[in-house]
C-alpha cells in the first residue's frame, strides 16, 4: 500500500458479457461502471463525462481481461498463452497461480492467485510488483467483508477460501 494508509474497499458486480467483453459495476463507495469491449475501456461515473481509452494503452488491463475471460470461459489454453500456470489442490479446494509470461507485464503484475472450491472461484488476488495487492472476494465470500478490513486480514481471508 504505497499511496493509501488503509485498504480501499469497493463492492459491486463483475459480469462477463461473452467474448472479450467484461463489465465491472461498482455500487459503493461511488457508482461507477467500467466496460471493456472491442478493445476500449469505458469508465462512466455518476455526474461525470464518460472516459474511455484504448486497451492497447493499458497492456496490464488486457492481461487481466484475458485471465478473467479465460477463467470464466474455462479455456486453459488461452490462459496458458499469457501465463505460467501452477495448480495446487487440497481435496475439493484449489489454488491457481498465474505468473505473466511477458516481462513488461511482469514489471507491473507479479502474480495472480485464484482460489476456489469445486467449480466455483471464490477469491482472486493480484500481487502488483511494487508490493501492492488487490483482492476480489467473489460470490458468497464478498458478503463476509469485514467492516474495518486490514491487508493481512484480507489476504488470509482470501487464501482461506482454499
Amino acid at each position: 500500500m504505497r499511496v493509501l494508509d488503509k485498504p480501499l474497499v469497493v463492492s459491486g458486480e463483475l459480469a462477463w458479457l461473452g467474448g472479450d467483453r467484461l463489465e465491472r459495476r461498482v455500487d459503493t463507495p461511488m457508482k461507477e461502471t467500467s466496460t471493456i469491449a472491442d478493445g476500449e475501456v469505458t469508465q462512466e461515473r455518476e455526474g461525470k463525462k464518460p472516459r474511455s481509452f484504448s486497451l492497447k494503452r493499458a497492456p496490464q488491463l488486457k492481461v487481466l481481461l484475458d485471465s478473467f475471460v479465460a477463467l470464466l470461459a474455462g479455456d486453459p489454453s488461452r490462459l496458458g498463452e499469457s501465463f505460467e500456470i501452477a495448480l495446487g489442490r487440497d481435496a475439493d479446494r484449489w489454488q491457481l497461480t498465474l505468473t505473466p509470461r511477458d516481462p513488461r507485464i511482469a514489471k507491473q503484475i507479479a502474480a495472480i492467485h485464484v482460489y476456489g472450491s469445486g467449480k466455483v472461484p471464490r477469491c482472486m488476488r493480484m500481487d502488483e510488483s511494487d508490493g501492492d495487492t488487490s483482492i476480489d472476494l467473489l460470490g458468497e465470500l464478498a458478503t463476509k467483508m469485514p467492516a474495518e478490513p486490514t491487508r493481512e486480514g484480507l489476504i488470509a481471508q482470501c487464501g482461506g477460501a482454499m
Binding site: 494508509d5 484504448s54 492497447k56 494503452r57 493499458a58 488487490s134
Partner: protein
C-alpha cells in the same frame, strides 16, 4: 612540322588537364532546386521559397515496417526510432511510442503553466478535494496501475492532460506500444533536417535510415517501405539520371559511328572532340570561380546546350577542300563561324538576363564553353589535323542529294502559308498553353503515389499543399496569435472541414498566458492548508503529495518558459520546426491534416483577427512559375532584338539577315505550334529547348545563306549540316523517347526544331536556283 603538331597536342592536353584539376578540386555541386527558381516577389511566394522543401510537411518521411509478427515489428520500430533519434540528419522521429515522460523532468513543474487547467480553475480546497476523490475512485478502477506512479507528484493529472493535448488528433492504432497501420505494418514518421526537395540531402537521410534499419538485429526478414516528398525527390532524381545515362551512352556510340562514317578518320574523330571538351572544362572552371556552388541541373543542361559547339569542328572538318590545309580552310570559314558563335552566345545571354541564380550559372557555363570551343576550333584544332584530308564534297550520293534538294520547288510565298498554319495551330490548340504545374514534369509511378496516400491517411500526416502561416515581430507574438487561432480551428475540426491541426501555442503558451497561470498558483502555506482540508477523511498516506506541493512552489517562482529553453526538451524540436525567425520577424508554421474545405478554413483563420493566413503552396508555386516564364520571355525578346542587330551588322545586309532570321523564327514558331496542337502545354523546359534548337537552326541558316558560287562548296555545306542534324537527332531524338517528361520535353522540342530548321533554312535559302545554273 610533325614535331610542332605533337607540341601543340601536348600543350592542349596539358591545358585540359590543368582545367580538369581546377574543376576536380574546386567544383562543389549543389542540389537545392530553389536556386533554379526566380526571386520571389509576393509574400506568399517568399514563404513558398522558404518552404519549398523546408516546411514541416515536406521534410517528413513516412516509414512502414512489414514482415514478422507484431512484437517483432514493434521492436524494429522502436529500434529504428532510437537509432534515428541519434542521427543528425533527422530532427524528429515519432512512432507512437507514447511516453508520459515526454515532458522532461526538469520541466515537470512547468505543467501548471503549460496546461490550460488554471485558466478556469484555481488550486483550492474544493478543486483538490474533487480531484483526490476522483483519484481514489481511479485506484479502485481498472486504471489503477496506470495512474498509481503519477499520483504523488501529479494528483490533478496535468501531465496526462498535456499528453492528450500533444497527441495528434488522428493518430494510428497503437499495438505493442507503437503505431500500426490497418494492414499491420509498424508505422514511423521521421523528419529530416535537409530540405524536402534537396535530392542530395534526402538521399543521404534515406541512406542513413536504411542503414540504421539494416543494422538492427532481426531486420533481415522485414521489409521497409519509405514514402514522402523527400523520397520522391530521390526516386525522380535517380530515374532521370538513369535514363539520361543510358540514352547518353547510346547517343555517344551513334555519334562515334556517324563521325567515322562521315570523315573516315579516327584522328578527325579524336581531335574533333577536343574543342567541346575544352569548352565544357573551361565553362565549369569559370563557373567554379564565379559561384561558390554549382547546381547539378546547370551541369546537366549545360552539357546539353553545349552540344551546339560540336558544330564548330564539324564545319571545319566538312569544309576542307582536297589539298587545302586545315589552317587555310578555317580562315575562310572564320567570319561565318564567328557570327554563329556570337549569335549563340547572345541567345544564351537570355538566361543570364532572367535573373534566376541557376540560369545565370547556365549562361556563364554555356557562353564560356561556346567561346572556348569556338576559339580552339579556330586557333588550335587546324594545326593538329592531318595535312591531307579527303574532300567530303566527293562523298558518294551527296551530289545527288544536293541536286534533289535544289530541284525542290521554292516558292517565294512559302513563309506565308507556313506562318498561317503555325498561327492557326496555335489558335486552335487544345488545353492550356502553359504548363504551370511543376509537379506534372516529375511524375511518379502510380503505386508510389497510392502508397503515399495510404500511409499519409493512416498516420494523419500533414497535408503538403496547405500551410497555416502566422507572422509577428517576436516569437512570443506568434505564440499569442496562434493561441487566438486555436478555438477557430477546433470549430473547423468539429465542422469536419479539417481533420486535424498543429499550432505552436499547443506546445508552448505565450508569456502573458503563462504569467496569468503562474499568478493563480497558491503559495506553499495556502496550498498546504487546502490540501489538508481536501485530504480530510481520505485514506491517502500522509505526506504522499509532498512532491506535488514542491512542484507548485517551484512553478510559482520559475522564470517563464521561452521557446529557447523549451527547444532543449525532447518536445522542443517539434516547436522549433513550427516557430522560425525570418529576417526581422518570426513566422509560425502549422501543418494541417485532412483539409476538406480550404475556403472555410481560410475564412475561419481570417476571422481570428491574428496576422495569419492559409497558404496554398500549389497556388503560390504556380504563380511563381508564371512569373518565372514572363522573365524568361522578356529576356528572350531582348536577346532576339540583339540577335537581329548582330546578324544584320555581321552580314552587312538587311536582306541577307532576313534570309537567316526568317527561317529560324518561322521554324521556332512551327515547333511551338506542333507541340501545342498535339496537346502539350509549354513548360520552362520546352522554352530552354526551343532556345537551343533556335541556336542550331541559326547555324544552318547562316551556312545555307552563304553564297559561294561553288557547287562543291555547297555540297560541303550540305555535308556539314547533315552531319550536324543527324548528330542532334541522335542525341535529342533518343531523349524524346524517354518516359520522363522533362527529358521528353527537351528531346522532342529539339528534334522537331532541328528538323524544321533544316527544312526551312534549305527551302528558304536564296540562291539555290543560281547553283543549278553552274
Amino acid at each position: 612540322m610533325k614535331g610542332a603538331r605533337l607540341g601543340i597536342l601536348v600543350a592542349w592536353l596539358a591545358a585540359l588537364a590543368a582545367l580538369g584539376a581546377i574543376v576536380a578540386t574546386q567544383l562543389k555541386v549543389g542540389t537545392d532546386l530553389r536556386s533554379f527558381m526566380p526571386a520571389p516577389t509576393t509574400p506568399d511566394q517568399k514563404l513558398l521559397m522558404d518552404q519549398v522543401g523546408e516546411g514541416p510537411g515536406s521534410r517528413l518521411l513516412l516509414v512502414a515496417i512489414d514482415g514478422g509478427d507484431d512484437a517483432a515489428k514493434a521492436a524494429l520500430s522502436r529500434g529504428l526510432a532510437a537509432a534515428l533519434r541519434k542521427e543528425a540528419a533527422f530532427t524528429q522521429v515519432v512512432n507512437g511510442d507514447f511516453d508520459l515522460g515526454m515532458l522532461d523532468t526538469r520541466l515537470m513543474p512547468y505543467r501548471f503553466l503549460l496546461s490550460p487547467t488554471l485558466d478556469t480553475q484555481a488550486l483550492d480546497e474544493d478543486y483538490l478535494a474533487d480531484q483526490l476523490q476522483q483519484r481514489l475512485d481511479d485506484l479502485g478502477s481498472p486504471a489503477a496501475t496506470l495512474l498509481k506512479g503519477l499520483l504523488p507528484r501529479d494528483p490533478t493529472l496535468e501531465t496526462l492532460k498535456l499528453a492528450e493535448r500533444w497527441t495528434p488528433a488522428r493518430s494510428p492504432e497503437v499495438r505493442e506500444g507503437v503505431w500500426f497501420s490497418s494492414r499491420g505494418e509498424a508505422l514511423l514518421l521521421a523528419q529530416t533536417r535537409g530540405a524536402g526537395f534537396d535530392p542530395g540531402a534526402q538521399d543521404e537521410a534515406i541512406g542513413r535510415l536504411r542503414a540504421a534499419f539494416a543494422a538492427l538485429p532481426d531486420s533481415a526478414g522485414s521489409h521497409l517501405t519509405i514514402s514522402g516528398p523527400g523520397y520522391f525527390t530521390v526516386v525522380v532524381n535517380a530515374q532521370t539520371r538513369d535514363q539520361a545515362d543510358w540514352i547518353g551512352r547510346i547517343s555517344t556510340i551513334g555519334f562515334i559511328v556517324l563521325m567515322l562514317a562521315a570523315y573516315r578518320s579516327v584522328s578527325s574523330l579524336l581531335f574533333g572532340a577536343l574543342p567541346v571538351a575544352t569548352g565544357a572544362l573551361a565553362g565549369i572552371a569559370v563557373m567554379t570561380l564565379c559561384f561558390s556552388e554549382v547546381h547539378g541541373i546547370t551541369l546537366a543542361f549545360g552539357f546539353t546546350l553545349l552540344g551546339v559547339a560540336q558544330e564548330y569542328p564539324i564545319r571545319l572538318l566538312s569544309h576542307r577542300r582536297a589539298g587545302e590545309s586545315a589552317v587555310a580552310s578555317v580562315k575562310g570559314l572564320w567570319p561565318l563561324l564567328l557570327t554563329a558563335i556570337a549569335s549563340a552566345c547572345i541567345a544564351y545571354l537570355a538566361f543570364y538576363a532572367s535573373g534566376v541564380g541557376g540560369l545565370k550559372q547556365l549562361a556563364v557555363f554555356t557562353i564560356t564553353g561556346l567561346l572556348a570551343a569556338g576559339f580552339t576550333t579556330r586557333y588550335a584544332l587546324p594545326y593538329l589535323l592531318p595535312e591531307r584530308a579527303r574532300d567530303v564534297a566527293d562523298t558518294p550520293g551527296l551530289a545527288r542529294f544536293r541536286g534533289w534538294l535544289d530541284a525542290l520547288p521554292r516558292p517565294r510565298w512559302l513563309p506565308i502559308p507556313v506562318a498561317a498554319a503555325a498561327v492557326a495551330m496555335l489558335a486552335f490548340a487544345p488545353g492550356p498553353f502553359w504548363q504551370n504545374d511543376l509537379s506534372a514534369l516529375t511524375p511518379l509511378p502510380r503505386d508510389l503515389l497510392m502508397t503515399d496516400a495510404r500511409l499519409r491517411g493512416e498516420l494523419g500526416a500533414p497535408d503538403v499543399r496547405y500551410l497555416l502561416v502566422v507572422q509577428a515581430p517576436t516569437a512570443d507574438g506568434v505564440l499569442a496569435a496562434s493561441a487566438k487561432l486555436e478555438p477557430r480551428l477546433r470549430e473547423q475540426v468539429a465542422a469536419k472541414t479539417l481533420d486535424g491541426f498543429e499550432l505552436p501555442s499547443i506546445y508552448l503558451p505565450d508569456l502573458a498566458t503563462q504569467r496569468a497561470r503562474q499568478a493563480k498558483l497558491p503559495d506553499r502555506a495556502t496550498l498546504d492548508a487546502a490540501l489538508d482540508g481536501a485530504l480530510d477523511g481520505m485514506p491517502f498516506r500522509k505526506d504522499l503529495f509532498a512532491p506535488f506541493v514542491d512542484d507548485v512552489e517551484t512553478a510559482r517562482g520559475a522564470p517563464l518558459l521561452t521557446p529557447d529553453v523549451f527547444a532543449r526538451s525532447p518536445l522542443g524540436q517539434r516547436l522549433a520546426a513550427m516557430l522560425v525567425p525570418r529576417g526581422d520577424h518570426w513566422v509560425g508554421l502549422s501543418a494541417l491534416s485532412g483539409v476538406h474545405d480550404a475556403s472555410a478554413i481560410a475564412a475561419a483563420v481570417a476571422s481570428a483577427g491574428a496576422n495569419a493566413r492559409l497558404l496554398d503552396l500549389k497556388d503560390a508555386s504556380e504563380s511563381l512559375v508564371a512569373e518565372y516564364r514572363t522573365r524568361i520571355l522578356h529576356a528572350l525578346l531582348a536577346a532576339t532584338l540583339l540577335l537581329l542587330v548582330t546578324i544584320t551588322l555581321a552580314l552587312r545586309s538587311v536582306r541577307r539577315a532576313w534570309h537567316v532570321l526568317a527561317p529560324m523564327t518561322l521554324a521556332t514558331f512551327l515547333v511551338l505550334a506542333v507541340e501545342r496542337v498535339v496537346g502539350i502545354p509549354i513548360s520552362l523546359f520546352h522554352l530552354v529547348a526551343l532556345i537551343l534548337a533556335a541556336g542550331l537552326g541559326l547555324h544552318y541558316a547562316l551556312f545555307f545563306e552563304r553564297d559561294t558560287g561553288d557547287p562543291a562548296e555547297q555540297r560541303r555545306t550540305l555535308h556539314a549540316t547533315v552531319v550536324c542534324v543527324i548528330s542532334a537527332l541522335l542525341v535529342f531524338g533518343m531523349l524524346a523517347w524517354s518516359s520522363i517528361p522533362v527529358l521528353r520535353a527537351i528531346g522532342l522540342t529539339v528534334s522537331l526544331g532541328v528538323a524544321f530548321h533544316f527544312c526551312l533554312s534549305i527551302l528558304m535559302a536564296p540562291h539555290a536556283r543560281q547553283d543549278r545554273l553552274h
